[in-house]
Every structure is written in C-alpha cells, then in structure tokens.
Symmetry: C2
Subunit: 498 residues, 2 copies
Amino acid sequence: MTATGVPDTGSATLEAVLAGLAASSPALADTGRSDRAAALRAVADALDAATDELVDVAVRETWLPVPRLAGEVARTSGQLRMFADGLVEGSFLDVVIDPADAAATPVPRPDLRRMQVPLGPVLVFAASNFPFAFSVAGGDTASALAASCPVVVKAHPGHPETSVRTAEVVRAAWEGAGMPAATFALITGEQAGVEALRDPRITAAGFTGSLHGGATLYRIAAARDVPIPFYAEMGSLNPTFVTPGAVRARGAEIAAGFVTSFTLGVGQFCTKPGLLFLPRGHGLDDALARGVGGVAPARMLHERIRSGHDAVRAELAALPGMRVVAAVDGDPGDGGRAGATLLATDLATLLADRERVLPECFGPTSVLVEYAGMDEVLAAARAFGGNLTATVHAEDDEVELVRPLVRELRDRAGRIVWNGWPTGVAVSWAMHHGGPWPATSAPLHTSVGMTAIRRFLRPVTYQDVPAALLDEALQDRNVAQIPRRLDGRLSSEDLAGA
Amino acid sequence: MTATGVPDTGSATLEAVLAGLAASSPALADTGRSDRAAALRAVADALDAATDELVDVAVRETWLPVPRLAGEVARTSGQLRMFADGLVEGSFLDVVIDPADAAATPVPRPDLRRMQVPLGPVLVFAASNFPFAFSVAGGDTASALAASCPVVVKAHPGHPETSVRTAEVVRAAWEGAGMPAATFALITGEQAGVEALRDPRITAAGFTGSLHGGATLYRIAAARDVPIPFYAEMGSLNPTFVTPGAVRARGAEIAAGFVTSFTLGVGQFCTKPGLLFLPRGHGLDDALARGVGGVAPARMLHERIRSGHDAVRAELAALPGMRVVAAVDGDPGDGGRAGATLLATDLATLLADRERVLPECFGPTSVLVEYAGMDEVLAAARAFGGNLTATVHAEDDEVELVRPLVRELRDRAGRIVWNGWPTGVAVSWAMHHGGPWPATSAPLHTSVGMTAIRRFLRPVTYQDVPAALLDEALQDRNVAQIPRRLDGRLSSEDLAGA
C-alpha cells in the first residue's frame, strides 16, 4: 500500500492479469486494423474528455504545472491517433511478396509472402517524469496495442492515482470500442513488476527511466529461460556544442535558450542538455548567470528525486577544476524545491573525471565545458557513449568547421539537432528517440514516433500457402491499397495477374 | 593449434584485429553504396572463381559431398550479389523525411530527416553445417559488410582451413575493390571468440549453431557493461503436420519427401523436420521404413557430432512409449557414419517427456507422432517454443480443418510451409529465417534474405540540419531515386519544391 492508498498488486491478482493477457492475445491479434484504429481513437477521445480530471490528480502527485500536464494529455491522445492513422495506412505490416519463380537459380523459388505479426503480451514500465505521454497510456502502450499486443502497465509509484484513473479511462474506452476484454491492465509495486517481467507469458517489455533501473531490468529479461526483447529508454546527457561564430552572432540568445532548455520541467526531461560546450573566452558568464538566476526554485517529481539531484550537484561542484557559474539555492522545506545550477569546467577535467561528470544529473543542473579548439571538441565527442540527442549551434559559414563533429555525433546519438534545443520531441514518422547504450538498451529502435510499433512485431513468411489461409494484406489483390514490396519493388498495386 | 595446423588467435593478434576494425569503421561507413555494391560483387566473383579449390578443402574437412558444397558456394556468392542489388536500390536506408510544419499541434514541427547508419564492428560466429553460406563469407558477413560494418569472423573449428582460405579470397577481393583495409578479418579459437564478444569495440554479433552455444554467448553479450545486439540462429525442431486427406491422397509421396528432407545433408540442416505428425492408422510405416532403409549411413561433420547424435537417438529410442519404425545401423569406425532413424510415439509421450523429445536432435533422426484428431494436433502445436519453420501437408478441401493449426503455428514459427519441405531456404526479400526463442535470440530479425541487413543498422534523425551536412539520401532532390517516406507517404520523388 502506497501512502496515497493504491495497494501493490498481489500475486493472485498478478496471476489473473497475466492469464487474462495470454488468453486474450489471439483474439486481439485477430482484430482488424480499422477496428483497432477506431479503438485507439476512442481511447484518445476519452483521455481528451477526461483531461481536467486527470490533470487535477497529476498536479497533486507530480507538482508539474497545469499547462504542461494538459499539453501532455494532448500529446498522449495525439500519439494514439498517430498510431490509428498508421494502422489504416498499413505499411507497418511490412508486406513482402516474392511470387514463385521456376527459373530462379540455384533452385526454383516457391511463392513467399511475409508480413509482421504481434509478439504477444507486452509489459510496460511507466516513467515518472511524463505521467501521461510515457506512462499508462503513453507511447509504449499505444504502440503495443496498435501492434495487437495485450499490455500490462506497471504503474510508476510517483503518480499512482493518476495511473489508476488513466487506466480506468483507457480500459473503458478500449473495451467499449469492442476490443477483447483483459487485453489492457495496470499493476502496481516493484515486486509485481519484476514477477511479471520474469513470467513466460510476457513476450517483450518497454521501460522509460533511469540507467540504473533500466539496466537492472534489462539483465533480468536477458536472464530468463526464454529471454525477451527489453526496450529501455534510459536518459541521456544530450551534449550541446556551440561554435565561436555562433557565440559571436547570437551568444545571448543561445545562453537564454540553453537555460530554458536545461531547466524545462525542472530539468526532468530525458532530453535535457546536460553539457554545453562553449569556446574559451565566450564571455557569456553574465548572460548565463542572469538566466539561471531568473529560474525560480521548483518542486521536483518527488522529494527523493530532489535530494538525489542536490547530492549529485554538490558532488559535481566539489570536483577539482569545476567552478560555479550560477547557483540558485534550493529549499529543502515544504517538499523541497530544487534551484537551477550551472557549473563550468574544461576538457581535461571532463575526461579525467568522466565517470562522475558524464552520467546524467536528473534535474536543473548542467555543466559548461570551455574548449580550446575543435580538436578538443572532437576529443570530447569521442568520449561519449550513446545519447538520445546531440546538438550543434553554428553559423552557415561554419559548416566545414563542424563537419567532423557532426560525423562523430552520428555514431553516438539518435538525433542531431541544429541551432535548436533537444527538449521537445516531435511525434512523427521521422522521429528517432533512441540511441546506443546507455541512452537505450536497443539501438535499433525508437520509443517515440510511428516506427515505435516495430518493437512489438515480428515477421512470418508463408510459403505456398493457399490464399484462403492468408491475411487480406497478403492476397494478390491489394484491396486495402497497403504499401507492399512485390517481387522486390515497392508498390501499392495488385500482384500482376490478380 | 588445431590438428589441421591452423593456430588459435592469440591476444596480441586479436587486439590488432579489433583495433584495426575500430579504426577503419568510420572509413567503411563513409563508402558509397555503389562502391560497396561493387566490392560485394567482386567478392562474389572471387568466390565463384575459387570454387574448385575451396570445395576441395571443404570436402576433406566436412565430408559433405562435392555437388552440395559447390552449390553452397554459388548460394554464398548469390547472397553477396543480392545485398549488392539491395545497396543500389537503397530502401534499406529507410529514409524518412518529415518537412517542417509550422502549423503542427501542439507545437510546430522542425524539419526531421531520418536514415539508417551502421552500428559499427560486427563479430560473426560461423556455423559448422554450412561451411560457406553460414560461415566466413555467409549471410551474416555479407549483410554486415553491406551495412558498412567491419566484420571479424570467428572461424568454426570444424573447417579451419576452409575458413582461412575463404577469408583470404574475401579479403583480397574486398580490399582489391577499394574497401578500407582492416575491415574484414578472421580469428580462430573459442577463447578469442569470447574475448572479442566481450570487447567494447564490438557493437553487434551474429551466430549460427546450437542452442547451448547460442544461449551461452547471448548471455555473455547481455552481461557486458555495454550490452549489444546478439543475433543467434539456434536451430529448430521444424514440426510437420499431415492431415488425413493428405495421407489418403499422396501418403507415399509424403513419406518419401519426409525421409529425403530429414536425412538431407545427414540431417545437419537447421530446417530439418524433426517431428512428423501423422493421423493414427496412417498405414505409412512400410513406406517410411523403406525410405529410411534406403539412406546409406554417412559421415557427419565431425566424429563428436556423430557420437552426440547417436547418444540422443539412443536416449529417445529408450523412452517409454517410443517405438522404432526404422533404424539403419551406423558405423563408429573410419571417422564414424550415422544411420538414419525414424522413431514413433503418441501425443501423451511427447507432452510427458517434452524436455527430452522437443529439443533438436542434430542428425538423421526424426520422430513420428501419431495423433488421434485435430484437438491433439492443436495441443501439440501449443506445446512448442519458437521454431524456424512449421509445415502443413493438407488437401485443398481441408483448409478449414487446418485453419486453427495454421493460426497456432503463426505464433510459434518464422516460416509456414504448405505442401512442401522446410529444408531449402530461398534467399530473397520475402524470406524470414528466424523465429521466437529457442529458434533465435532475436525474434524480430532474419539471418537469411535481404532484410538480414537490418540487424546491423540503427536510425539517426537530423533535425533542421543544413543540406550540406546531410547524406545524399536525405537531400530534397532524390538523385538516386531511393524509395523514401516523404511527409508520411512512400515515394521515390523529390521533396516538393526541390
């Protein structure tokens, strides 16, 4: 039982949930794309209709401001509608048809028809920092349901009532739209989450949270008798590089933008820029200090998160070679408020203490690194592991100067941002919210955007199977006009002769 | 040092190989698609030209017959040419462009352009049973090189000289075609393989072999400080189901086809049908026994493999409820020859002893399961874990009878074969050679066919990045006519306004 009165899920309840998921999995897999799309839209509509009520609960549990939370509900319903659109469009099925070819060498080729099918029941570990968009009805849930996978969400303990209420809205709308019962459930408590992860009926899991939490669960998933895909998004340093030309042209603007970005949501975004590289002698200390000084201390998601942030900040500030550019005092009283802090150091300190400087500091603290030239910038870039994003601020005439940097960043980041800020993740086809470890546990996949659905699908090929046993998407006639690959070429047409 | 005189790779050599791979990785990543395609074709041509010499060595090391080995070299060069074609076509880059949209809600959308980039150095564990097509120059190597990933192959100890000679041919042709030096290497020895797998410079690994070997290496990969994708293809039972109607219509033909399939290559195919479900009273015992009796004992890849097969066969034959339909005596002398064996049992025995009956028996032994009705067939299908393939033999008027079975098989197999045999894996776009654990460690991926390249690529999104810093594939003008997704729609056209 949490302090808020939401009890942890017991073993008997968990067993019923998992049995229900497994039993209903074939029925959900056999729903039609348009029916599933309609159900996702019904969930989106229900969330929109419940916005005020959901935000009321979430404000109390997370201390995030109302406009931010209301916007996040809109983002959440928008994601559901994007997946609904994607279901109708149909290319996620990745249909490939190679007609029989008696002349193929070294042996004749049979008729081969391939499409994506759902993996099965999916476990989602909800995030703390986005109580809607990466939580109960967030991107992991939306993409798994779109893929026809039943979902059990392990609620984040930071917003239990928000989770329960959201789950009620989702389930009522989902089942009300005709989706099979027992295909969506919520569980609470760390033990229930780990038990579910170990359960053979769970076929994949998604996670958004800390490196420690994600890595621990990843290893549990890998140690199962039957290991399963575990998609963890574990946050990121999101280094940002500013050229001398950009400082000269718009240094004050960059300073202001940076402070806004790293303190947005009290620095609790996985895309928070945690490192800003500025050329030595940048002259922006005052502008940066003014910016930081203007950020009011704010409550973080939880008192434990605030005290953790303050401890890491103190440790960073105490490193030899680190100076404080600006620090707003926090306030441990009244649940605790975190003050924004900007530290500064040089490349030598960064590299010498990389195990302390390079992990993510969750909260409104960032580190300025003053570099002597592009060689130092490249050396810094090569020191990074995986990052969700990397950002470059440069002028048009500096393209050749930063070309080697952009090339290095490509090997380490999931998204490269030019003259902007990494906070703000568009939900679209081209978005990639991922990256090599430790940004995520699965570098091939994104947790945001339409292609997030790929995480919960696997291919099946039918060889010479009669049309009567094939899905509509694999028929000669492409009634639904799905984009397909026919005999090696992309097409929405019927198979020749159909 | 192996008995054949190929020394194991020592630590110093391994270090040089890995350092070379890491250092050359960016240069390989920056090669053009058409240059890489030309290099893959050069490797294919060189292998074809060396066929006689390579086959001579392989015959001595593997005991596989000359026509089979020569055909396998042709398959290997064919795979390389398929990836070359795929590089030119370009859809593997998975280009997605979402133009900026100032009217997007809840926030304006920046310009987002996404494409696939290589993961980095790849380690390939070669297979024993396909000394060419799944070995040094096999599908894992071909797909990784096509993806611009440098490759180090850990040779299978079953054919060390074949491996060394193949590697020489590959490297000479690859580098001769202008690909960067040190982007392809061979290592030998179990210790070198495990050391390489643990090395932080390796970013992904492929494997073809046994469940025991694959699972062990999978867990090593997952236990690294930085876990990496580990693509293991670990073999399969490949259950085959025959309906009463099919028995009536063509029982003798099915019996003959089954014996040919399960004894092909001395039963050393990962797609060998290890279980044949026949209706009780099928009356095919004599036909099956005649077929098995006509298969001459043959040398397996290695004496250890033969003795392992004979031990599993003896254990299966000794199970209560198991009878011997036909057994050809093997011959332990002269390197050992394995005789074909067909056992038979019923569903109760299969399910009661599933831990002994359901693992793969590598070699020319298969088990007949006599079923009482479709309910038993469905119960059996539900008992399976992942399989590379599942096969159904049925008549046209039995489609409704087998519909539930085909549906169950879809959730457990990577490929469903109708009225054919699973041995024989076409190399094409629509092929899926994969499946849920224990068939593979990565159910989303195939190790055969064009889409095998996806295993070694990850997405990167460029946000508002100037055209001068973008790959040709991401430009407004689609000079190379690559299939792309523009603003959500598939197209090979230029971006509007370009």
